[in-house]
């Protein structure tokens, strides 16, 4: 202990001075962050763009929805947690759509069917857009490994948060929606 006590001040001062120098070096030569500049399915990154068709045949391109917060939810009709969170998503959509919130429910049509998705949307009275990912291209771009997986995309087109798995609670959906809507466009 006497050795530690004897050298503590010297070790501490050395560590603090060298660390301050390291901080300056980092600030000068190593700019922080790569998020927001390249597309990747990760919080802080630019949301990868996709173009898919809806159940009624309309085309939706994500990048055209900039300036609006978007919830992109990957789902399938055979996925129980996906089904469980849909009513909450509908309620949140109904409350916030007038403020600009968009929900894109991307059906994993390559492992589901268009008819099943249509029946499901009708049964649950879903009024947000149901997109058909027939080739799984969007799921590949977003590296979806489990259903449901939900991406919250802010007005600037950057990923605000990612929730893998479900069902998401209504409180979580509302909290995320309100955080994104509160951001200045």
């Amino acid at each position: 202990m006497t050795t530690i006590a004897k050298h503590w001040r010297l070790i501490s001062l050395t560590a603090l001075i060298l660390s301050a120098g390291w901080m300056a070096l980092t600030a000068l030569f190593f700019p922080s962050g790569t998020g927001g500049r390249i597309p990747a399915p990760r919080q802080g990154f630019l949301a990868p763009d996709f173009e898919l068709t809806t159940l009624d045949g309309q085309t939706v391109q994500l990048s055209r929805l900039q300036a609006q917060p978007v919830i992109v939810n990957f789902w399938a009709t055979w996925c129980a947690p996906c089904k469980a969170e849909m009513p909450a998503m509908q309620r949140v959509y109904q409350q916030y759509r007038d403020q600009g919130l968009v929900i894109l429910a991307v059906n994993a049509t390559n492992q589901d069917s268009r008819q099943a998705a249509a029946d499901f949307a009708s049964q649950y009275n879903l009024t947000f857009s149901i997109l058909l990912d027939t080739s799984a291209e969007a799921a590949r771009q977003y590296q979806v490994r489990a259903l449901p997986t939900t991406f919250f995309i802010d007005r600037a087109g950057n990923i605000h948060d990612v929730i893998v798995g479900g069902p998401m609670s209504e409180g979580l959906l509302r909290a995320q929606a309100e955080q994104m809507l509160a951001e200045v466009p």
Binding site: I4, M23, P31, G35, A40, M168, S169, G171, R174
Partner: protein, 248 residues
């Protein structure tokens, strides 16, 4: 990166599993050495249980308080099993407040309690970095070095693994050994853990690609870590020379 583990029809979140494993290993290993800090295994477990419970409740209440409108509209969500609805900062503050409350009630000196917790916290740090590696969080800056890994569209420093290695070295360094109880004054083991963890965070931040800035290009994490390091240095000086005022 391994965000999920598929077990038949079950999809398990690998980062959560790693964290749970780290808590279990940390507590079970730290329990065996808690007597070095003058605390019996039973009292150590009670302390850890109080802190864990209070931390979880505090983290959920903190998240709810920060999103009060959402939870007023959907109060049942307060009880939802969503790990995403936790505020880590609030959880840590409430856990330590509850821990201090328990030590007062059980008449355990706070410095002894902190020393007993340090090994468990050190293992939890290793687990948290490995969980980050599994989820792809706290990722590295782009690199062309041989050790680069493909992540989020770039070849990046495997900074989560380097941070896990640093945390493992810290755990090894502060782990109580025979005879060490007499070697360190109460509280110093925790202070060394805190200082070394801050030092590792500050130096490895250079390799991270997700850092936020505060001012003048300085990184937020480094500024915070430097302040923690300074506090740990001052606290250590005080513990080693209890009769001397800091700065003299």
């Amino acid at each position: 990166m391994l965000p999920t583990v598929q077990l038949g029809p079950l999809t398990l979140q690998a980062p959560g599993l790693i964290l749970l494993l780290a808590v279990w290993i940390g507590l079970s290993r730290a329990e065996k050495v808690s007597h070095h800090a003058g605390i019996s295994a039973d009292r150590f477990y009670n302390l850890a249980l109080v802190m864990l419970t209070a931390g979880l409740i505090g983290a959920r209440l903190g998240y709810a308080a920060r999103n009060i409108d959402a939870f007023l509209a959907s109060p049942a969500s307060l009880l939802a099993l969503s790990p995403q609805m936790l505020s880590a900062t609030d959880g840590i503050i409430i856990a330590f407040a509850a821990g201090i409350g328990y030590t007062q009630k059980a008449k355990i000196p706070v410095l002894h309690a902190l020393d007993a917790l340090a090994p468990a916290l050190a293992i939890l740090m290793v687990g948290s970095h490995l969980a980050n590696f599994a989820s792809g969080a706290a990722f590295g800056a782009p690199t062309r070095l041989f050790w680069g890994i493909q992540l989020w569209g770039e070849t990046r420093h495997p900074v989560q693994l380097l941070e896990a290695l640093a945390a493992a070295l810290i755990a090894f360094g502060i782990w109580p050994r025979a005879g060490s109880a007499a070697a360190l004054p109460p509280g110093l083991r925790f202070v060394i853990f805190l200082g070394a963890t801050a030092l590792a965070r500050l130096w490895l931040e250079l390799l991270r690609g997700d850092g936020g800035l505060v001012f003048g290009g300085l990184r937020q994490a480094q500024v915070t870590a430097w302040v923690v390091l300074a506090l740990a240095a001052a606290a250590g000086a005080r513990l080693l020379n209890p009769g001397q005022k800091p700065g003299k």
